[in-house]
């Protein structure tokens, strides 16, 4: 088992498809989490958005990584709408801008993509770690990924860090989104957006393991 050195457009495509599948599978769970803290639609809207992103991405021809990421961003932003459409859209849009003109993505390219995405989400949402949002999963995951030597250990530690981060939102009071209005009553509930981020990294990691198994 050797680590892949770069990510190709085909692999990026597959990752989007894997994310869409993982999120679709957990749609009801995400709705449930969002109904404790928000309006109960996160699962439906994010799964619809990623499913159509996956469809669109599959139809691209001769796509560069940036095209794939930009298509994902645009579909998520405009199909999903709402706060999370803007935020998940921004994540992919900033990544797309960073991937501009690259034909494949190295590990350090990928570090930069995630870092740009995270910064974009933070400034769009005017939020940071500890606010009980997707950032509580995204930020530690990006940090863990960037701290790893290769993709394999990067995806694994990112998935684990996202998982821990999402769980940590249970004890937080929300400072953003619809959940902020319920203050103390938010305690005990895990943030839906942070859970989606976790599912995203888990899907990528699971896909990566199948790749590594292949070679």
């Amino acid at each position: 088992m050797t680590a892949n050195i770069v990510i190709t457009s085909q692999q990026l495509d597959d990752m989007i498809v894997a994310i869409a599948a993982q999120i679709a599978e957990n749609r009801d769970l995400l709705n449930q989490l969002d109904s404790a803290l928000g309006d109960g639609d996160h699962g439906t809207s994010i799964s619809t958005a990623f499913s159509s992103a996956a469809e669109q991405v599959k139809q691209l021809e001769d796509a560069q990584p940036a095209d794939i990421l930009k298509t994902t961003a645009s579909v998520v932003m405009n199909r999903m709408g709402g706060a999370s459409g803007a935020l998940f859209g921004t994540l992919f849009m900033k990544a797309a801008l960073t991937a501009k003109d690259k034909t494949t993505l190295t590990k350090s390219d990928m570090d930069a993509l995630w870092q740009a995405g995270l910064d974009g989400v933070k400034s769009r949402g005017k939020s940071d770690v500890g606010d009980k949002t997707m950032i509580d999963a995204l930020s530690p995951a990006v940090q863990a990924f960037c701290g790893a030597q290769d993709f394999g250990s990067g995806w694994q530690s990112a998935a684990e860090a996202a998982q821990r981060g999402a769980k940590s939102t249970k004890t937080m009071i929300a400072k953003h989104g619809r959940a902020k209005f319920i203050s103390e009553r938010a305690i005990g509930h895990q943030d839906a957006g942070a859970t989606s981020i976790t599912l995203m990294f888990e899907a990528i990691y699971a896909y990566w393991k199948t790749l590594e198994g292949q070679d």
């Binding site: 309006d39 405009n78 999903m80 709408g81 803007a86 619809r178 209005f181």
Partner: protein, 336 residues
């Protein structure tokens, strides 16, 4: 309190399309549904006047599709249920509302509405669409303390803004004056809402939040966001006695002020109850020497079939009274 979960719909994924088709067919004399899913006026505003646009999550009908028309909005960009539309759709709405004197994008302050409007304005810049501005509107006193008004969320009281800035934009060619007018009305408006029951999401079919049969919540948001806390249901008079004084104190509204009053039905309150509630509102205002100019009681911004209401006050001067009395002809807001 219990809520029905079953709704009379077709495919839940076609909710928005079905609703817009039905609405625009029923009110074809007032509005038109465009191919890209915008609700626009049947008779566009003349050239040279400021365009007025809002994008918002659906599920609050008659808001906001019912407010497109003469003396009101030029264009509404309805998003999916309780979900603000994405930036590209907002840009399409801005283009449709442009009559050569700029476009004001109204934002009812919620995270999604705001972020997407910001992104839309960034897109406008990139695409060289000029003379576009946005105004962030809020009124709900339960969502942030006095002093932090800009953190408050936008709720039913914004109907005062829609009506009056709509009248203003009808004859104005000055985008910044429109924005200033919207801010003036916003800064004169305060709202507090409550609910007795939950409601079901038409998308998931699930109840949106839990509330016991004998409980009510004061400070309820327009998407079932929880408010200041639960308590046992009390009488109509006691409910108003809990809700009106904090509204009055927040602005504050003072003796000899003239106000507009709104009791917005969030869904399945009866008008009978709202009239009974209004009786107490009128009593307290009279005691305080606050004079009512006009009142609105009915379903303006709903949260599906949630049983509850929002109480809003807006302080008016002669300029605002004039705008209030100006004609309006939306499908669900008519002023003769």
């Amino acid at each position: 309190m219990s809520s029905r979960k079953q709704k009379l719909i077709n495919d839940p994924s076609a909710l928005l399309a079905d609703m817009l088709t039905g609405f625009s067919a029923a009110y074809a004399d007032v509005v038109r549904l465009t191919d890209n899913g915008l609700i626009v006026r049947r008779q566009p505003k003349p050239q040279g006047k400021v365009g007025l646009v809002i994008g918002n999550g659906s599920g609050h009908e008659p808001a906001m599709i019912g407010l497109v028309g003469e003396g009101l909005f030029d264009v509404n960009i309805p998003g999916e249920i309780f979900t603000a539309p994405g930036p590209e759709r907002i840009v399409e709405g801005i283009r449709a509302a442009d009559h050569g004197a700029g476009v004001l994008v109204c934002v009812s302050h919620h995270a999604g509405d705001l972020m997407n409007a910001e992104m839309a304005l960034e897109l406008c810049e990139m695409e060289d669409i000029e003379n576009v501005d946005m105004v962030i509107l809020y009124d709900d006193i339960s969502s942030a303390p006095k002093g932090n008004e800009p953190e408050r969320r936008g709720t039913a009281g914004l109907f005062f803004v829609w009506k009056m800035v709509g009248a203003f934009a009808e004859t104005s060619d000055d985008l910044s004056a429109c924005k200033a007018m919207a801010e003036k009305i916003r800064d004169n408006t305060r709202t507090l809402a409550m609910a007795l029951t939950s409601c079901a999401s038409p998308v998931t079919g699930e109840i949106m939040f839990e509330i016991a049969d004998d409980e009510m919540e004061i400070g309820m948001g327009v998407h079932g966001e929880m408010g200041m806390g639960r308590q046992k249901i009390v009488s109509a008079e006691e409910t108003i006695d809990l809700m009106l004084p904090p509204i009055i104190d927040d602005l504050p509204f003072k003796a000899d002020d003239e106000v507009l009053v709104m009791l917005n039905n969030s869904g399945s309150m009866t008008l009978m109850e709202l009239f009974i509630l209004y009786k107490r509102v009128a009593e307290i205002l009279q005691e305080k020497g606050i004079r009512v100019y006009k009142s609105w009681i009915g379903p303006y911004a709903t949260t599906q079939e949630m049983a509850g209401f929002a109480l809003s006050l807006c302080k008016v001067d002669d300029e605002l009274k004039h705008l209030w009395d100006a004609p309006a002809n939306g499908a669900y807001l008519k002023q003769l």
